[in-house]
């Protein structure tokens, strides 16, 4: 079997893209323009066939993987995924009815072949599972051990999350879902494959488990000793420290891992002294009088007193880290461009900055999780539960910071004085709190 003509595929692709939510999100707010075909590469001639189409609309490029088979074979392949059908296309010189073309991401057989292609034959899988998301890429899990992101909406140059993954690995940072393969073409990252750890869980779920254990004490009927019914004074800090589900040891380990992350970031991308004026600007841009005052205080700091400026994670919270059997891992660098606009102000999350920004992010994340857990408790327990949640947040934030700040590898990145560390933590924390109050649905 030979392939349909590129023009036939492009005609079908054009109609198909118009039906896709992710396509419309990607072009939203951008100037009108015609779709054009940048490239069409046939990756596989035999049935099932596979081609990679690169389509552009203005400066925005898209990748569409098109598969095709004889019409009679397609029904079974696309069962339950009929919306992936693009249409029929003639095959030059074939003389028959041609083939049915569809989004190759709907064909398990083609996906396992794609994995072999992307990994240059190093990896093979028997099963593939799609992680359903309407975003700029398709997420695919192979044999529950490999994870592929196949990008639909492309970015020129190196995609930051992919670059970060490979650079950190090269810098010897192991607390990472290990990268396996990178598929590049036309100056873009087209797909990336990394390990998949089925039993790993995002940090937020572990934090909620710990909070559930603790906040149950507020009910007064908990078999592990309620405090709510005692009527007397309680000591939330002592209660939190003695809870079975205490999370502080995990947070301390997360702090140590984070220190390793920053050390590797500085190795991979370099470090320079943070400029007080620039840091002050970031703080003050928050917009409140308090932030303006903090910004002023920081702006007046002596040069080189604020520690280093490095490539930071920039969106570091409990959903971005995972707990696996080998410890805490950075699970992602979260730069889905389609969601960037949902952030209140992307300029407030610069990719180069003080490592303390990431720390403030994580501490604020504890606050958010505590609020989430509190919302699930009945109103009658609210007062005691709030005290316990606040104590939980304090204890775990302290443990996280202790794990980080005592790690030898980040000492060269930190401000010389603990007062300055404290000031920066306060300031960056205030930025996050202010942003959250301004737009509670931000995350």
């Amino acid at each position: 079997m030979t392939a349909p003509l590129a023009t036939s595929l492009f005609d079908l692709a054009r109609t198909y893209l118009e039906r896709q939510v992710w396509f419309h999100r990607a072009i939203a707010g951008k100037p009108e323009g015609e779709l054009s075909l940048v490239a069409a590469d046939v990756l596989r001639h035999d049935e099932p066939g596979l081609a990679r189409l690169l389509v552009a609309r203005g400066s925005q490029r898209f990748q569409l993987l098109a598969g095709w088979r004889e019409a009679t074979a397609v029904g079974g392949v696309l069962k339950g995924r009929e919306s992936a059908l693009l249409g029929s296309a003639p095959v030059p010189g074939d003389g028959t009815q041609g083939v049915l073309v569809y989004d190759a991401l709907a064909d398990d057989d083609l996906l396992t072949r794609l994995l072999a292609l992307v990994t240059e034959g190093r990896e093979h899988a028997e099963r593939v599972r799609r992680v359903a998301t309407l975003v700029s890429h398709a997420s695919l899990v192979f044999d529950e051990r490999l994870f592929m992101k196949c990008y639909r909406v492309l970015e020129e140059g190196e995609r930051p999350e992919v670059e970060m993954m490979f650079r950190l690995e090269a810098a010897g940072f192991a607390a990472l879902l290990q990268p396996v393969a990178r598929w590049r073409g036309y100056g873009c990252d087209l797909a990336v494959v990394r390990e998949f750890l089925p039993s790993a869980l995002e940090g937020r779920l572990l934090a909620l488990t710990s909070l559930r254990d603790l906040l149950a004490h507020a009910s007064g009927t908990d078999e592990q000793g309620g405090v709510g019914s005692l009527g007397g004074e309680i000591d939330p800090d002592a209660e939190t420290a003695s809870a079975g589900g205490d999370f502080s040891a995990e947070m301390r380990r997360l702090g140590v891992m984070t220190a390793g992350l920053h050390a590797a970031m500085s190795t991979a991308f370099g470090a320079q002294a943070a400029e007080p004026a620039r840091v002050a600007k970031i703080i003050a841009a928050g917009g409140s009088p308090r932030l303006a005052a903090l910004g002023e205080q920081i702006g007046a700091a002596a040069p080189e007193s604020l520690g280093a400026s490095i490539r930071v994670h920039g969106d570091y919270h409990l959903r971005r880290v995972m707990r696996a059997e080998r410890g805490w891992l950075v699970a992602g660098f979260g730069d889905d461009p389609l969601y960037a606009s949902a952030k209140p102000d992307p300029s407030l999350a610069p990719r180069v900055g003080s490592p303390i920004e990431d720390l403030a992010d994580m501490c604020f994340s504890l606050h958010r999780v505590a609020a989430e857990a509190l919302a699930q408790r009945p109103a009658s327990e609210a007062e005691v539960a709030a005290d316990l949640a606040a104590a939980w947040e304090r204890r775990n934030c302290e443990a996280f910071l202790a794990g980080y700040l005592r790690s030898p590898e980040v000492q060269v990145l930190l401000p010389g004085s603990s007062e300055t560390v404290e000031l920066l933590l306060t300031a960056f924390g205030a930025v996050r709190a202010h942003r959250y109050e301004a737009t509670p649905s931000a995350r």
Partner: protein, 579 residues
């Protein structure tokens, strides 16, 4: 129903009333099959001869007492009895200070009694192994008495002597609560002797070929009597060398391999179970290439089961399983919840130890060396659901389960007794005098039975457990019976399954391809609250899960995640039948 014990020394044999307990019909499936790998499928039951049953009313449990209880153990589902030391001993370390390797302590009976116990157990399809202390002896052992007498007697080099107590100072002190050095000065010989444990337990010198041969002779003697194997006490410490940790040395492995070789040659179907309290990566070396010990205890798993339940999340367990290497063909882990020693915390981090002390040993009296000296029931605050969950884990994780006497009743402990005696109080058979353990006067008893209002023998005893069909005892007996029908629990591979809820631990036991068995899915809720979880069962798409206790059919496994809800500390064992 009970054996007909023969009176010895002319004294009337007083069988405790509990011996006449009416037991439900005993299962008939057990037989002493000629299976060289019987230990892989066996359920072990560890008991203290002095604390189990007293047949002659002297206040001390004995071998005849055990014989009288064999039907009970058979009914429970025990496959192999592990006897704690019964050798003559000054009892300064629970009998692990052996003063004579070739006889039975008079208060426990005679060598003939042991032969009878083995025979009676075998007749019921059960096997018997015993503790063998090969690292050291009591300082009252004739070998040591001779060795210390002079520097040139025939046994002068049977122990490790030195003029210097600074040698091998890097080697850790295990009983750090009581010992300040691994060397003790001997006035008679005017030298220091080496001991890894108490100062009254001098280590044998395995560099001396005569010592090796003497210990192998002891092994031959007991196996010749019919014992089915040994639990090798302190197997990691046989040799010591300057500049090393004194643990797991190649010479130690070489000697154990020699012992195995001799046993395989002369005593088929016997087994060695090593007590090596080390990380699994080091312990697997004691399996050799399948030519050293048949079984090893998996020490680090046990505290992590407790930790996982207390934290209500699975990582303590999945982490240690991830760090547990595969074992050679024919080898098996021994896993347990509690035993005669403290709940050992040697194989946890300092941070984890602090956590375990805080959660499970709030009273300093509960702590011992690097561990917690408590029985299972008090450890879990007598929570029946937690006890069931922990046993469900014990019976379904890879390894042969080792039960500790009395834990099938949820017996309590007595933290006010010295050393580890708190977890070695007499077995509680009935609500009668001394809990049915002995007809001696209370003051004569080797240790007082528990009379605690919650755990005391008046409330917690075999008779009560047998009468109550919903007792923990009956529950455990049923679970052991179910487990027996599914050899995959014993020899299957384990695969941890993804579950989106940290409080849920799901794994599948996968049989060997040609066994014809079906995989069994085990799902455990580590939380005291009801939980829901989506479990990744993709590779079992199309299978029908069938719950093993009630044979209830669950919805067929589809292509996506499999949703299950579990009650507080609930668990499921689900056979995955192909359609």
């Amino acid at each position: 129903m009970d054996a007909d014990p023969t009176p010895r020394n002319g004294a009337p044999l007083l069988v405790p009333p509990a011996a006449n307990l009416s037991l439900p019909a005993a299962p008939t499936w057990r037989s002493l099959a000629d299976d060289p790998r019987w230990y892989q499928k066996a359920v072990f039951y560890e008991l203290l001869p002095r604390g189990f049953a007293d047949s002659n009313a002297d206040g001390i449990g004995d071998l005849q007492g055990i014989i009288a209880k064999l039907d009970y153990l058979g009914w429970l589902g025990v496959d192999c009895i592990w006897l704690l030391p019964y050798y003559p001993s000054p009892l300064r370390d629970g009998g692990y200070d052996v003063a004579d390797f070739y006889s039975v302590a008079p208060e426990c009976g005679t060598v003939d009694d042991l032969a009878q116990l083995i025979e009676e157990a075998h007749r019921r399809g059960m096997r018997v192994i015993s503790d063998l202390v090969i690292n050291h002896t009591s300082d009252e052992h004739p070998w040591f008495k001779e060795s210390r007498a002079s520097r040139d007697n025939p046994k002068a080099d049977w122990y490790v002597w030195s003029d210097d107590d600074q040698a091998m100072s890097d080697i850790r002190i295990i009983f750090c609560d009581t010992e300040s050095s691994n060397w003790t000065w001997d006035n008679a010989r005017q030298q220091f002797y080496w001991h890894r444990f108490f100062h009254h337990q001098p280590d044998l010198n395995y560099e001396n070929p005569e010592v090796q041969e003497a210990i192998l002779q002891v092994v031959r003697f007991w196996l010749g009597l019919g014992l089915d194997g040994f639990r090798l006490d302190a197997a990691a410490y046989l040799y010591q060398r300057e500049g090393t940790s004194g643990e797991n040395l190649p010479e130690t492995h070489a000697f154990l391999q020699r012992m195995r070789k001799e046993i395989d040659r002369d005593f088929p179907n016997r087994m060695l179970l090593a007590e090596v309290n080390q990380w699994p990566a080091d312990v697997v070396d004691y399996f050799g290439q399948g030519d050293e010990c048949h079984m090893c205890f998996h020490f680090p798993l046990m505290p992590r089961m407790f930790m996982a339940v207390r934290r209500e999340q699975r990582f303590p367990i999945t982490e240690i399983l991830a760090h547990t290497p595969d074992v050679p063909d024919g080898a098996q882990w021994g896993i347990f919840l509690r035993n005669h020693d403290e709940l050992t915390l040697e194989m946890v981090t300092d941070e984890e130890r602090d956590y375990m002390y805080a959660e499970y040993a709030s009273d300093p009296r509960m702590r011992k060396n690097l561990g917690i000296r408590r029985r299972l029931a008090p450890l879990v605050e007598n929570n029946r659901r937690v006890a069931e969950l922990l046993h469900a884990l014990l019976l379904s994780l890879p390894g042969s389960p080792v039960l500790y006497y009395g834990d099938e009743l949820l017996m309590g402990d007595n933290i006010y007794l010295g050393d580890r005696d708190g977890v070695r109080t007499p077995m509680q058979w009935t609500p009668d005098r001394n809990g049915g353990f002995s007809q001696a006067d209370f003051a004569q008893l080797f240790l007082p039975p528990s009379m605690d209002p919650v755990y005391g023998f008046q409330a917690v005893n075999v008779e009560a457990g047998l009468r109550d069909p919903s007792s923990f005892l009956h529950w455990l007996q049923r679970m052991l019976a179910i487990r027996r029908h599914y050899p995959v629990f014993a020899t299957g591979e384990i695969e941890i399954l993804p579950a989106d809820n940290p409080s849920v631990l799901a794994y599948v036991r996968i049989p060997e391809e040609e066994s014809g068995e079906t995989p069994v899915l085990c799902v455990n809720n580590l939380s005291r609250f009801a939980q829901a979880a989506e479990i990744g069962l993709g590779r079992f798409e199309g299978c029908v899960p069938i719950e093993l206790v009630g044979r209830t059919q669950f919805p067929v496994v589809g292509s996506g995640g499999y949703f299950l809800t579990l009650g507080p500390h609930g668990f499921y064992w689900l056979e995955l039948e192909s359609t």
